[in-house]
């Protein structure tokens, strides 16, 4: 415990038992799938198919064409029906490419496999870009960007922590395809020329740790790192601090570190082997308001409502349906949003109203904020629009992890206050006028 800071992290009840040991349910697509044209909030895409085109599993449909390149692929075989605006898991109206599913799942991959053992570093990075690898922990950051050869990297950290409550998708994937994961890690390690790769996993996952240790026993430079079961251990900053005891200003590459999600590594290995891009996802459907929580293996583009129906439906009348886990995922006002390629969970909880009371000024939000900022004061400064103070309090560092609301004994929606404060700051005239 430090004198001036709190723990900056906290054990949260993970509720992992709801889905960790249930069978994975394979869900097939219905008559139509909808591929959302969005990547990390950007909707600038060049569409490569038109209405009536026949597509297979793995056909390239569109490419993000702003400062990042992210291709999207079809998850079923069938016919392109056109483009439709629908609600997306980010709570935005987004264009989706609609494909009529012929039910055959005919595969024809547009990307060539690559043997990472013989390929050069640059070739692997190029492959990451062409195969549309994105962070599978929820955010969907394009993987190739982190492997820019200009960065000097010593350490690769593979994030298998899965600190959001309820989610067990990474665990299930790791359990099912451990060998493939290790191959992906080795390929990534080569791609960034790191000296050592750590696969970080919670120390509480006792059953899988020995198996993983065995799997990397003969792989040079790859180690398993057990980390404490606290939130948000899966956040880059917290994880890097845990593993290396180092802090950085903006990007981990400043201190020679790359972090990638384990499912991303695994998807990369699969794509390299067979040419199959991310066309289906392991998604945790969990929460007390679901009749049968389970992990689901499902093609990208299937509406969440269809999947929940196949799982046996809801068990409560008033629910929050959340794209992602309960800490960071957004609630959506219907269940027609689709599974997209960076998604790993849908959480359904019973909706309850909690009365907010006066701030006790207890400072718990400060103590546990993983970014080390002062949520209570940001919230207050945001309310009175104290721009100067907001800047001094470095509100921009907030990652909206939800911790401040989670710990607040007065049930204040602190995280939402921080979001509001960010907007206040964004809308304020910049210093220096004009």
């Amino acid at each position: 415990m430090s004198l001036f800071t709190g723990p900056m992290r906290k054990h949260v009840d993970g509720k992992k038992e709801l889905t960790a040991h249930t069978e994975v349910v394979k869900v097939l697509a219905g008559e139509k799938v909808y591929i959302p044209l969005i990547s990390m909030g950007s909707t600038k895409f060049e569409v490569l198919v038109k209405e009536g085109d026949a597509v297979c599993v793995g056909t390239r449909l569109a490419v993000r064409n702003d400062h990042f390149t992210v291709p999207l692929f079809s998850s079923v075989s069938g016919t392109v029906l056109g483009i439709e605006k629908r609600m997306h898991g980010s709570l935005k109206l987004v264009e989706h490419i609609v494909i009529a599913n012929d039910g055959n799942y005919t595969k024809k991959f547009d990307i060539e496999p690559l043997d990472y053992k013989t390929a050069t570093r640059e070739e692997i990075v190029e492959f990451m870009k062409n195969s549309g690898m994105v962070g599978c922990g929820g955010a969907g950051f394009p993987t190739y960007v982190k492997y820019n050869p200009a960065n000097k990297i010593q350490t690769l950290i593979i994030n298998d922590v899965e600190c959001e409550p309820y989610i067990t998708a990474d665990y299930k994937v790791t359990e099912a395809e451990l060998a493939l994961l290790v191959e992906g890690v080795v390929a990534m390690k080569k791609a960034c020329d790191a000296e050592v790769a750590y696969i970080a996993i919670k120390e509480t996952k006792k059953d899988i740790i020995p198996v993983m240790k065995e799997a990397v026993a003969n792989v040079e430079g790859v180690e398993i790192k057990e980390v404490p079961d606290v939130y948000p251990m899966g956040w880059e900053r917290t994880l890097i601090y845990q593993v290396t005891k180092k802090r950085y200003d903006r990007l981990p590459s400043e201190i020679g570190i790359v972090v990638n999600n384990s499912t991303t590594a695994l998807s990369l290995a699969r794509a390299m082997k067979t040419g199959e891009p991310i066309v289906s996802k392991m998604v945790t459907f969990s929460g007390e308001a679901l009749a049968n929580p389970a992990n689901v293996l499902v093609p990208v583009g299937v509406p969440v409502g269809e999947i929940i129906k196949q799982l046996g439906g809801y068990s409560k009348e008033n629910v929050h349906i959340i794209a992602g886990g309960p800490m960071m995922g957004k609630t959506i006002n219907n269940d027609q949003f689709v599974i997209h390629h960076a998604m790993n969970a849908v959480t359904v909880l019973e909706a309850k109203e909690e009365k907010e009371i006066g701030c006790l000024r207890c400072g718990r939000c400060n103590d546990f904020c993983p970014a080390g900022i002062q949520p209570v004061r940001i919230n207050n400064a945001g309310r009175i629009k104290d721009i100067d103070m907001l800047e001094k309090l470095e509100v921009a560092r907030c990652i909206e992890c939800g911790m401040c609301t989670y710990v607040c004994p007065s049930h204040i929606k602190v995280t939402e206050g921080i979001r509001r404060a960010k907007q206040v700051l964004a809308m304020a005239p910049k210093k220096g006028g004009k």
């Binding site: 004198l3 800071t5 900056m8 959340i322 309960p326 701030c359 006790l360 718990r364």
Partner: protein, 496 residues
């Protein structure tokens, strides 16, 4: 099927301010229970009843104030308002801070001030700047300190005694032993079996509860630890300067409201800075002010005022502790070092300004005055006219009978002079003795001059001396002067 929107996160740790306040309330009630137990064993059931009445009136007052506020000002359901405003905590703390012989009406006024002025006027729970209980107590101590309940028994308290009798420092072992024995020594102070404010005496109980509250994450350990630590170190400095032993800082920790204040009042989150660095500065400040007020203000209790003063500085501390907390160390360290240096420096300066007081037993005034000296050089005949009325010879001795006016003149009707026989040996030219023939002044006062301790002073006085002196009788200086005037008249006659 309804899908409800709610900003993330949709998960909660389950802690609630209500539960926190409930636990705090229980801890305070434990302290109160000890207070009842002590009052019963030390002073009997009368004190217990009075204590219960005090607590009852404070609680009722606090609740009534808030209910009225809820209805008239906040326009909310009073029950809901009460549930999230926790007035009883303030009431309980306030009662625990006052001595048992406090009357009921000051407690009611103090509670009204605490709740209405210090809390509700500032916007209610969470926005008040001053610790309400401390503010209420300050009112009681400032305006009603002298109004004590008559039928309630209480005794000397350690802090009042050391402040009033010893000037807050003792450096002699025998004085210390005598002082400590009144309160059962250090062990007595630790276990609280002595008089003091109702809830402040049992240090050990308070500390145990403090540890519990820290473990339960209800208070931050930094506040009590730095508060008590500061008091200890600063008292140690004073103690060392004056050659008092280690007992001295320990005494500071064990007495008065220090432990109670550090655990239950300085930790009040509402009136604390929100950052951990800020809380540390706050606590050090409280410790410093407590010690300074104690030894220099010679008040028995600095705790209350130290908390109120630091409450005032809280916004300033907050401003100093802004930014990313893991970078705070660098930022706050110089400030903290400054605060510590100032605290130690000030305390050292103050130590040089205080001195131990060793109480002396009150001296009985001596029979003969130490200040009133009667001299032959002075002429007393003007104020106390004297005349020789007779003269008898006996060998070389001559006995002069002298009438001299005394106290009676100017005070009584029909005043009569005193009459003396002054015997003078004409061979050795010295006074042999002086005796009363007739006493006319106030009985039991002036007649103390008949005492040989006074009269014998004239024996052997040379009649040729011009400046021989005698001491007057302390309680009878005027009659003494009457005697002196008679002696002067006789001497003048003898000189011829």
């Amino acid at each position: 099927m309804k899908f409800k929107l709610n900003p993330a996160p949709n998960y909660h740790c389950g802690a609630s301010t209500r539960k926190v306040m409930l636990e705090l309330t229980v801890c305070l009630l434990v302290v109160f229970a000890f207070a009842l137990f002590y009052q019963f064993t030390a002073h009997g059931i009368g004190n217990v009843i009075h204590t219960l009445i005090l607590m009852g009136s404070a609680l009722v007052t606090a609740v009534v104030c808030e209910v009225l506020w809820a209805i008239l000002v906040a326009k909310e359901n009073p029950l809901d308002y009460l549930r999230d405003s926790f007035p009883w905590v303030t009431a309980i703390i306030l009662v625990l801070m006052v001595p048992v012989n406090t009357q009921v009406y000051p407690v009611i006024i103090g509670t009204i001030f605490a709740i209405v002025v210090a809390k509700l006027f500032f916007g209610g729970f969470g926005t008040n700047i001053f610790n309400p209980a401390a503010a209420g107590c300050a009112v009681i101590f400032s305006y009603f300190a002298t109004s004590v309940a008559k039928d309630v028994v209480t005794g000397a308290t350690p802090t009042k005694t050391i402040a009033g009798t010893y000037g807050w420092i003792i450096n002699q072992q025998d004085v210390l032993d005598k002082f400590m024995d009144q309160f059962g020594g250090m062990f007595g102070l630790l276990t609280g079996m002595h008089d003091g404010a109702l809830g402040e005496t049992c240090t050990i109980l308070i500390l145990v509860l403090g540890v519990y509250l820290v473990v339960r994450n209800i208070i931050d350990w930094r506040v009590p630890v730095f508060y008590l630590g500061t008091v200890f170190v600063l008292a140690l400095i004073i103690g060392l300067y004056h050659g008092a032993g280690l007992w001295y800082p320990v005494f500071h920790l064990l007495t008065g409201g220090v432990a109670f204040g550090a655990v239950f009042m300085a930790t009040d989150p509402v009136t604390n800075p929100t950052t951990r660095a800020g809380k540390i500065i706050f606590a050090i400040g409280c410790g410093l002010i407590t010690v300074l007020i104690r030894v220099k203000g010679s008040l028995p209790e600095g705790v209350l005022y130290s908390i109120l003063l630091m409450n005032m500085l809280t916004p300033w501390i907050e401003r100093a502790c802004v930014g990313v907390q893991y970078n705070m160390g660098k930022k706050v360290m110089p400030l903290l070092a400054g605060v510590v240096a100032v605290a130690c420096g000030l305390t050292f300066v103050v130590s040089t300004m205080i001195a131990p007081v060793v109480p002396q037993p009150p001296k009985k005034p001596s029979f003969l005055s130490e200040t009133q000296h009667l001299s032959l050089a002075d002429d007393y005949s003007a104020d106390y006219p004297a005349k020789v009325t007779g003269k008898t010879k006996d060998g070389s001795n001559v006995i002069y009978t002298v009438e001299a006016n005394g106290y009676a003149f100017g005070h009584y009707d029909n005043a009569q002079p005193n009459v003396y026989n002054v015997t003078i040996d004409t061979a050795t030219r010295t006074v042999v003795k002086v005796e009363y023939v007739k006493f006319s002044d106030t009985e039991y006062v002036g007649d103390t001059t008949k005492d040989s301790r006074f009269m014998s002073q004239f024996e052997g006085m040379s009649i040729d001396s011009t400046d021989a002196t005698v001491d007057a009788v302390t309680n009878a200086t005027i009659t003494s002067k009457s005697v002196m005037s008679a002696v002067q008249a006789a001497i003048n006659a003898a000189r011829g």
